[in-house]
């Protein structure tokens, strides 16, 4: 008999439960990792038509077609690193899915490019808040502050010396998706007017759709 004796409450059943539970846990973690991976892809995100609208501008951005060939997928920017954080972000993202589905049933329908564009500013402001709250963590997955060279001679110096207390998103907005002004200087009337012109709505039509 070994000197190390299992405590008496570890019965065979408990041991089996632990093993099975452990394997199931590992399996679940593996599932989450795979799930997060899969659900971070452009292909998955754009299964919702409303996301296809966002993807259009993304596909003409430098984050989709950089000279380096390093392509950032939806999740690379919009889903945090680490399985817990990534899962949590997907959980939060579930709200969008619910909005999408309920919108289909009760309106507003985000698949409609007009509705989508009308509500885009709020989405952009929320996304910027999200980046800000995480200190632009997803940017830093690829971008290393000290290594940023830029086109101008002093870009590197600026990033090393002038960024204390600032986060990437503070300066770098409107890189990928349709451009929306900063919330502070955003002008709703102009945005509505733009939507009316772009989609041929009668004057005041955008305001009415937004109120619905």
């Amino acid at each position: 008999m070994s000197k190390w004796k299992l405590p008496s409450f570890i019965t065979r059943h408990v041991l089996m439960a632990l093993v099975i539970g452990g394997i199931a846990g590992i399996g679940f973690m593996l599932f989450l990792i795979e799930f997060d991976e899969l659900t971070s892809s452009e292909a998955f995100c754009t299964t919702c038509h409303s996301m296809e609208i966002a993807a259009e501008t993304y596909r003409s951005s430098t984050h989709y077609n950089p000279v380096s060939g390093v392509r950032a997928s939806c999740g690379d920017c919009h889903v945090s690193e680490g399985v817990v954080a990534a899962t949590w972000d997907h959980f939060l993202g579930g709200k969008d899915l619910l909005t999408q589905i309920s919108g289909k049933l009760f309106g507003p329908d985000y698949d409609d490019p007009v509705i989508n564009t009308l509500h885009l500013p709020e989405a952009a402001f929320a996304a910027r808040e999200w980046f800000k709250a995480r200190d632009s963590a997803t940017c830093k997955r690829c971008h290393v502050l000290e290594a940023i060279q830029g086109k101008r001679a002093d870009t590197n110096t600026i990033h090393r010396e002038e960024t204390q207390g600032k986060s990437c998103i503070d300066c770098h907005i409107n890189l990928v998706h349709r451009k929306v002004p900063d919330e502070q200087t955003f002008k709703r009337e102009r945005w509505l007017q733009m939507v009316e012109e772009e989609f041929g709505l009668e004057p005041g039509g955008a305001q009415r759709l937004l109120a619905e």
Binding site: T155, T157, I158, E161, D170, K179, P181, D182, Q184, T185
Partner: protein
């Protein structure tokens, strides 16, 4: 005082007391500038845009503690406001922004031929830039001098078809018209640079406003070149006849202080004539209560102060002051009198006026009447520039005619004649009239020529084809003698 001195004195008082001809020194309390938040911009911008920060460091602004934010700050409601590093700013510093401190200059340039430079060509643009040129020309050509109507895109950025632009009549997102940096190059805003003729010739060169070449060819330009080190261009006070006497520059005569005459940022104030029109007119300047201005022909009875007349945009405005062509000429002559005698000045102006009248009577009016007839009788299509005579007519007054008139106004003999009126004459006799015959047929052309040309004393020589001259190698008299 002799009677003439008394008259001059009284005239001086009259002109100096008119607000439109008067410029006060800028005085704003220094507590109004030097925004503490604006001191932080430099640290980054000396790296990102080192050239312009260095220029700012050399400026009187920097010396006085005026920083980036003092000029670039905006309100969140501004059309072109953007958030930048936590501050609400605008890229464009409009004349209205400059007027936070430079109020007097802003009020003076408001409504001037400079600040209204877009309106002057607005009607012509579709024909010239649209038909003859193209949209690319509007942005990179026309608008660069006259000014663009700056469009702000939805994200707050400036539409590249309308920006960058420092045209002098630029229509800014805040609604103000003009661009101070058109003459006062940013970010140094050097007094000396703006006083140099080169500040003007960025636009006042080329066929329709060949003032660079004219000035350089004039005695004034000659003196400036030879004695530019005596021009006191950096001086705080720059009164012709007092702070410098070597030569006048463009600014001296058109805007500058001279003797009792105060400086004024309305560049057209001292212009008695319109020189860039098909027919020149002596013009009276009407100033409205709101600072806007219009030019009326001298023939129009002067509007009374306080009366309401229609403004350039068609709306009604209350008349604040009227400057007659005579008074405007008197203001201009005050500059001349700092160096020239009264008789000299009067005679020079007379020579100039005679050239303008000659152009009007001999070419401007006849050509205009003939063109009007061709259009009204359907001999020309209404579309401009689809028929050769339209180019010929356009160049007659817009290029060659303008050159002759500008040449006479600023004393370049060569531009008055060879580059100017000679070309007008050659164009009129050897292109315009032959084209007229092609378009209208011999009979109709002869009738028009009889009505507008040969009945005019200036063209009487056409009726004497036998009167010879040896200039081209044939002289009837000499042939007969031999």
């Amino acid at each position: 005082m002799s009677p003439s001195q008394v008259r001059r004195f009284l005239l001086g008082i009259l002109i100096c007391c008119t607000p439109e001809l008067f410029a006060a020194k800028v005085s704003v309390d220094p507590s109004e500038w030097g925004d503490p938040l604006g001191k932080e911009c430099i640290s980054c911008h000396e790296k990102s845009s080192s050239g312009l920060t260095k220029q700012w460091r050399q400026s009187a602004h920097a010396e006085a503690g005026v920083n980036c934010l003092d000029c670039h700050k905006a309100s969140v409601d501004d059309n072109d406001a953007i958030t930048h590093e936590g501050q609400v700013i605008a890229t464009i510093v409009s004349p209205l922004d400059c007027s936070r401190c430079h109020t007097v200059e802003y009020e003076q340039q408001k409504g001037s031929v400079h600040s209204e430079a877009v309106g002057i060509i607005e009607n012509r643009l579709p024909a010239l830039a649209g038909h003859v040129g193209g949209d690319a020309i509007v942005a990179a050509g026309c608008d660069q001098c006259h000014g663009s109507k700056v469009e702000v895109r939805i994200d707050g950025s400036l539409d590249p078809r309308t920006w960058p632009n420092s045209g002098i009549g630029r229509i800014n997102p805040d609604g103000s018209k003009g661009s101070c940096s058109s003459c006062h190059g940013k970010h140094r805003f050097s007094k000396a640079q703006a006083r140099e003729p080169s500040a003007c010739i960025r636009c006042h060169s080329g066929p329709d406003s060949p003032d660079k070449a004219i000035y350089e060819a004039s005695k004034h330009g000659m003196q400036f070149e030879a004695h530019r080190d005596e021009m006191a261009l950096e001086s705080d006070n720059w009164v012709a006849g007092k702070d410098y006497v070597a030569a006048p520059t463009c600014v001296t005569c058109h805007m500058g202080a001279a003797g009792k005459l105060k400086a004024n940022h309305d560049v057209g104030m001292r212009n008695a004539w319109s020189l860039n029109t098909p027919v020149s007119m002596r013009q009276q300047l009407v100033v409205f209560e709101d600072g806007e201005k219009i030019e009326l022909p001298e023939s129009h009875s002067p509007p009374r102060r306080g009366s309401e007349i229609s403004k350039a945009d068609g709306s009604m405005g209350k008349v604040k002051a009227v400057a007659s062509p005579k008074r405007r000429r008197q203001a201009m002559k005050l500059v001349c009198l700092e160096c020239h005698s009264k008789a000299f000045t009067e005679s020079f102006m007379n020579q100039f006026d005679e050239v303008v009248r000659l152009f009007n009577e001999k070419f401007g009016i006849p050509a205009k009447r003939i063109m009007q007839t061709l259009y009204s009788e359907g001999l020309l299509t209404p579309a401009p520039f689809d028929e050769p005579i339209e180019f010929i007519y356009w160049e007659l007054w817009h290029d060659e005619g303008a050159r002759a008139r500008h040449g006479a106004s600023m004393a370049s003999a060569n531009h008055t004649w060879w580059e100017g009126m000679y070309l007008v004459g050659r164009n009129f006799y050897s292109r315009f009239l032959p084209q007229l015959e092609r378009i209208a047929g011999e009979e109709k052309a002869n009738a028009l020529i009889q009505a507008y040309v040969t009945s005019n004393d200036h063209h009487q020589w056409l009726e004497q084809p036998q009167k010879s001259n040896p200039i081209l190698g044939y002289d009837v008299k000499r042939q007969a003698d031999e």
